[in-house]
Subunit: 171 residues, 2 copies
């Protein structure tokens, strides 16, 4: 997940749709809180806040460490005022084989038990089910495969204009 | 850092001091928001919220992954309703040698540049300096080495009672 309060693409969708962002997503170019998505694309640009609300210092710390992993450990470049590679991002990927540590079977059994425990916790009134990471995305995918993908008129219009310009037939 | 809104020890200090916790730290045993630190130690106990405010689902996801690393990958045990080892925590430690990746010199230079860039960012009015992780702790250590460690009467009294019981002279 992003270590900011929202992903940049979600601000862009709000901008194109002509909608305001929720409070807590953005600062304008003077460092003041705003809900106007246009501030992020102004000159000078605003910024997206780190995730975390009252604990946003933790989101900032996570973002800093990710910059260090992706930019410094990787052999790439960390953030700077004028990016050297404006069209690229550095990346750090780590793969762990549980078979080299506690064992693949042990791993699978512990994760299964943990998921079952969390899903089975008591729920407050009004909460129908407890979700684990990936559940909302799986539910959204099922819904969109059944009903299609909703796009507001402005975002759809930008896509069809782009298709026109590239000579691609819009569906 | 902890992936919850606060560390448990800070709630305990509030409880002993007879103070309320800030909103956003705790739920009572019925899953309702509360500022009363006693709820965390009741029967049944309340709980500490995950970090993140409006993005607390990210704090929850981090906590879940840490449980999987510490409990499942390590060969230990993940969280469950009745802990098998109530007095212990499982742990996962990862050490990375930048010399095996982008190089130790590259790493040091990128991190130095990143820290300098972040510390040098423009500040809003009223912010005297930009802090990096560890700065507040270093400032607190310097202050406490100069002025001593402040403890409220109730926490001090609990410590001296414990010292009495163990036959240790309080300083």
């Amino acid at each position: 997940f992003s270590t900011s309060a929202t992903a940049e693409g979600k601000v862009r969708v709000k901008k194109i749709a002509g909608e305001q962002c929720p409070p807590g997503w953005l600062l304008d170019c003077d460092g003041q809180p705003t809900t106007d998505p246009n501030t992020l694309y102004g000159t000078p640009p605003g910024t997206i806040l780190p995730m975390g609300g009252d604990q946003a210092y933790k989101g900032f710390g996570l973002a800093l460490m990710i910059d260090i992993f992706s930019g410094a450990v990787s052999g790439g470049l960390c953030a700077r005022e004028t990016p050297i590679t404006p069209n690229g991002n550095c990346v750090f990927l780590m793969l762990i084989d549980p078979g080299h540590f506690g064992g693949a079977g042990h791993y699978a059994e512990q994760v299964r038990q943990l998921c079952e425990f969390v899903r089975g916790c008591p729920r407050v009134d009004g909460v129908e089910q407890i979700l684990l990471p990936g559940d909302p995305e799986r539910m959204t995918m099922a819904k969109r495969q059944a009903d299609g993908i909703f796009l507001d008129d402005q975002n759809w219009s930008q896509l069809t204009q782009l298709a026109d310009r590239l000579g691609v037939a819009a569906p």
